[in-house]
């Protein structure tokens, strides 16, 4: 194990996979010469050349669709959409083309395509650069949806995504990029559809995504002081969803809180809750609870933005209410 940043972990995953398979290419705005807006592809342009690391024009529909054409003809593109908000610019390509072409063709084509894109608020980037749009892509059949928590997770899950023969939307958290984490040396992958117990506990189950895992862990430390033992599940992938791990935990704890940074309405929280409700209903001490970003666009001013997004303190308070 050594300490590297989350951005470096992603960069390593890309580098290892590009070295391993010459069909892996990286496409996106500013991914080349400067190594990515969030420095997640530093050095790759030099190493793999301008055709495998392609600085694109500001044409998200064009280059995401181009990646699809490349994927079905033998390459394994990794597309970077600079902010997940911009997925909206190429949403037809993502949901009507990439997600559906294999199915519509009756299984004739394979789509080994990864879309990497950062989510999350907290940088005063305002409403068009702060969204966490995982629920939109999770709603559409045909896409696998990955929300890594730590750098270690990000690296292992990204390598799995790139090796997948199916389209994957891989959502990185932009507040994590510069944070340092312990990451194993050498190669490893992390399978999809298998949640990780980030912390064991007996009093309540928190299912969290992305950086909400770390925020929940912070809350758990405080809760421990109050004698509350929190079990935290890092769900890793929303599609596929590891229901079993959640159900098992809730049967043990009797309480379930889901924390995801996306907007609450029609969000990941509701989905996870309803996915397990049948199986845990009679074991619940109280209704399943969900936390997410309030149902307003993200405002610019930090004075307005932070209060809207779940954090360790709000998670702590919510858990206390649930006791």
């Amino acid at each position: 194990m050594r300490e590297i940043t989350y951005a470096q972990a992603i960069c390593e995953a890309l580098d290892e996979e590009m070295a391993r398979d010459e069909n892996v290419i990286l496409l996106g705005e500013d991914v080349g010469i400067i190594g990515g807006n969030f420095k997640t592809s530093v050095g790759l342009y030099k190493k793999y050349g301008e055709w495998r690391v392609k600085d694109t024009p500001i044409s998200e529909s064009g280059f995401t669709g181009l990646a699809l054409g490349a994927a079905i003809t033998g390459l394994r593109p990794v597309v970077e959409i600079m902010f997940s908000d911009f997925m909206a610019v190429c949403f037809d390509q993502i949901i009507n083309q990439i997600a559906k072409i294999r199915y519509m063709s009756g299984g004739q084509v394979k789509v080994p395509l990864t879309i990497r894109t950062p989510i999350g608020g907290g940088r005063s980037s305002a409403a068009q650069h702060s969204q966490s749009l995982q629920a939109l892509v999770a709603h559409i059949p045909g896409l696998k949806v990955v929300l890594p928590s730590t750098a270690e997770e990000a690296k292992g899950l990204l390598k799995t995504a790139i090796r997948e023969d199916n389209p994957v939307v891989f959502m990185e958290h932009k507040m994590e990029y510069n944070k340092k984490y312990l990451v194993p040396e050498g190669e490893y992958t992390i399978p999809f559809g298998k949640a990780r117990i980030a912390r064991e506990g007996s009093d309540i189950t928190i299912v969290a995504t992305s950086s909400m895992v770390m925020k929940s862990l912070d809350a758990a430390k405080e809760l421990e002081k109050d004698g509350i033992e929190t079990e935290i599940i890092d769900i890793r992938t929303i599609v596929p969803l590891d229901k079993e791990t959640i159900v098992k935990s809730v049967i043990k704890t009797g309480k379930l809180l889901i924390v995801d940074e996306g907007h609450i309405r029609c969000g990941i929280g509701a989905e996870i809750a309803m996915s397990v409700l049948d199986d845990v209903f009679y074991d619940l001490d109280l209704p399943i609870q969900r936390m997410g970003t309030e149902n307003v666009p993200l405002p610019f001013s930090p004075a307005l933005e932070f209060p809207l997004i779940p954090d360790a303190k709000k998670i702590y308070q919510k858990v206390k209410q649930m006791m």
């Binding site: 529909s61 064009g62 280059f63 181009l66 699809l68 054409g69 037809d92 390509q93 072409i101 199915y103």
Partner: protein, 324 residues
Amino acid sequence: MNVQGYEKRQLLEFYSTMYKIRKFEEEVFELYKQGLMPGLAHTYVGEEAIATGACNAIEKGKDYVASTHRGHGHLIASGADLSKMMAEILGKKTGYCKGKGGSMHVVSLENNILGANGIVGGGIPLATGAAYTSKLKNTGQVTLSFFGDAATNQGTFHESLNMAAAWKLPVVYIIENNQFGISVSIKRVTAIKDLAERAKAYGMPGVVVDGNNVIEVYEKVKEAVELARKGEGPTLIECKTYRFRGHHVGDPGIEYRLQEEIEEWKAKCPIKRLKEALINNSIATEDDIKNIERDVDKQIEEAVEFAKQSPYPEPSEAFEDLFV
């Protein structure tokens, strides 16, 4: 129509293909009227010269073709199996897509046909991506990207052509300018006369072609394919044409077009024109033509029969083919 310098074999092949497309589409229309076809289909009647000229200018099975909602012609001209096509259009298990795609989504990977597309302009980036693979892997393949006049007003057209020109990708963009997007005349929504003019906005050659002249289409596409194969990048080719029928099988197509205009274009029928050239230049006799037609009729009949006899998929199959 100048058929000088062409082998008889090739000219008859053109004729056969155009006639096959026409006949296939007429059958599609029949099946629709008989209530045997689920949903709708967009027929290619009147535009046969484009797919035929263009798809004969590439190496079938090696080069790529990306199509549109009006895709039957491109598939047939690229050598797709008529039975599997017809079965797909009827929603049968034996169709190219096992009934999951239907007319608007036929893919034939074995023929390197990357698919029809239900989103206007949706397939242009995909075509460009196939060309990206060919360029990166240096395979010498070329991609044909077909789309309609109305699709040239989609952002994807613009974005794709810009990238292809900037990176000299081996792709030929073919506008099938039948002058309408459903009911809307291109003249009402675009100020320029020749859509091929748009090539200049990207720095690629733009060519206007009589889309009802199979020889002219063939020649211009061939030139463009050669350029692309030599690494000199994309070309935009505008084929002027007209659809004889409505937008889809359920549209009479007369509410928004003048009857005279339709008749004018029917007089320029690409099939009739080739036939006249063949006979006037003593390349083929009426009998030769009849023989070809009889042969094609039989193929189509067999395809229809195959499709009709084929079973529907089982409901459980709806859950297959989502992920590998």
